[in-house]
């Protein structure tokens, strides 16, 4: 039996979205990349912030923001230090 260590990230798939995606109309490859820092490092969060900062924000809260971007969450790979969201389009 495979037993992942504590450090192994955990995957959650959003089957509702992932099942019927169609990318037939995609034509532009180059991406836009936005990186917003709210503190200099994970070890330097302001006193007002939640202990795990942005990672304390539940996935469903990001959905509204991602709707404005025209992306949907396909799956989330969660780890202690970073959560990786795979998105549509």
């Amino acid at each position: 039996t495979f037993s992942p260590s504590e450090g192994t990230p955990h995957l959650t798939i959003n089957h509702d979205v992932a099942a019927d995606l169609d990318s037939s109309n995609a034509f532009e490859g180059p991406e836009k990349l936005l990186e917003v820092w709210f503190a200099p490092s994970a070890a330097a969060l302001p006193a007002s912030a939640a202990p795990s900062g942005l990672k304390s924000v539940p996935a469903e809260t990001w959905v509204g923001m991602l709707d404005m971007v025209n992306c949907k969450i396909l799956s989330v790979l969660e780890s202690e230090a970073v959560d990786a969201y795979l998105l549509s389009e």
């Binding site: 991406e31 503190a39 924000v57």
Partner: protein
Amino acid sequence: SSMFVFPHKLILKTCGTTTLLLGLQRMLHIAAANAGFPFRNAVSVDHVRAAAIPYRVFYSRKNFLFPDKQRGPHRSWKQEVKYLDDMIEGGGSAYMVGRMNGDHWYLYITSPNKTLTPPLTPNLEAVNGHPTPESMSNGGSGANSPGAHHNDETLEILMTDLDPEIAKQFFLSNASAVATDKLAAETQEARRKAAVSRNGLSTPIEEVDVFDNQGADWLSAKKLDAIEELTTEGHALGTVVSESCGLSQVYPTSVYPDARVDAYLFSPCGFSANGVIPAPATAHEDQHNSTHYFTVHVTPEPGFSFASFETNVPGRQNGKTTAEIIEHVVGIFRPGRFSVTVFETKGRSANPYGMGDEGFKNLAMQRLVDPVRGYRRIDRIVHDFEDYDLVFRFYERE
């Protein structure tokens, strides 16, 4: 598209005609209202206009293939810059890197907001990602270095004009066939083992009756479901493609045992993958307890084929050097041309590998001239920012 959420920063990379910047206002609001970061624009954080104050912002993209088809502020770089300047107090600086009549790259960057540096008293209660005395003194933003931040290194490879034969791997029809072949091979192997178990000797595969009881078991409804899922479901096929194209070997589990890749193959084509790479326990002290990421996006259609690879896994972290990573990734896609950008904190590696500043400078200079086999370097441009170095290189196939 992909999003990476760290305690202190968020990275959003979106493909196609997405309207990434239209999400910025909401992102700043969530950071204030749901994560507790200091905010402005409102008296109460509950107000919809309350927006967290960013410590710093980066926005970048390659020039679009079809800019007229983009939406919102993304129709032109000028509009994007205006949008960002309007949104971010104090504004930022916008750059174009590379040939205007070629595959150039755009960057918008703000200076660190020094008002958001932490208090002078280090937080000593820390565990599991929270401050420790070690992390505060080891490149972390510390009390004695206002505005400083953790070592940071991002490598991005943007590839166009992919080899058409290679690009076929990223079509669902092709990947589905690969998955079916893989399943058939696994099933045959299982049958062979079953036959060996029954007969006590190695039975040639062709002599095993596929309709015997063992075969019927293997083709049970459950197995058929598994076959259906593996050959059609996006995540399952994404995993198959990650392995077959060589992507899963960029950061192999033999070196990064806790690495995990989440991949998806779109219908009828297109591919995205995120990797989360906890640092190996044997890595240098500086890398302990740090987790990095990589992300890959592929648009394989002829005429506008494109692939991107981005990572912040430090080169040489017990694994491949940056040059080896570039060669590996370029070998997967065999693009007609590609750009490489390396964005890193100034002097970030002056100490971690035990060499002096002079030794590191020599290594850094060497990396600036690294050739990539089979490609001719067309451009090499170095930008010396306030606290980051940016190296942009552009290559064409020989």
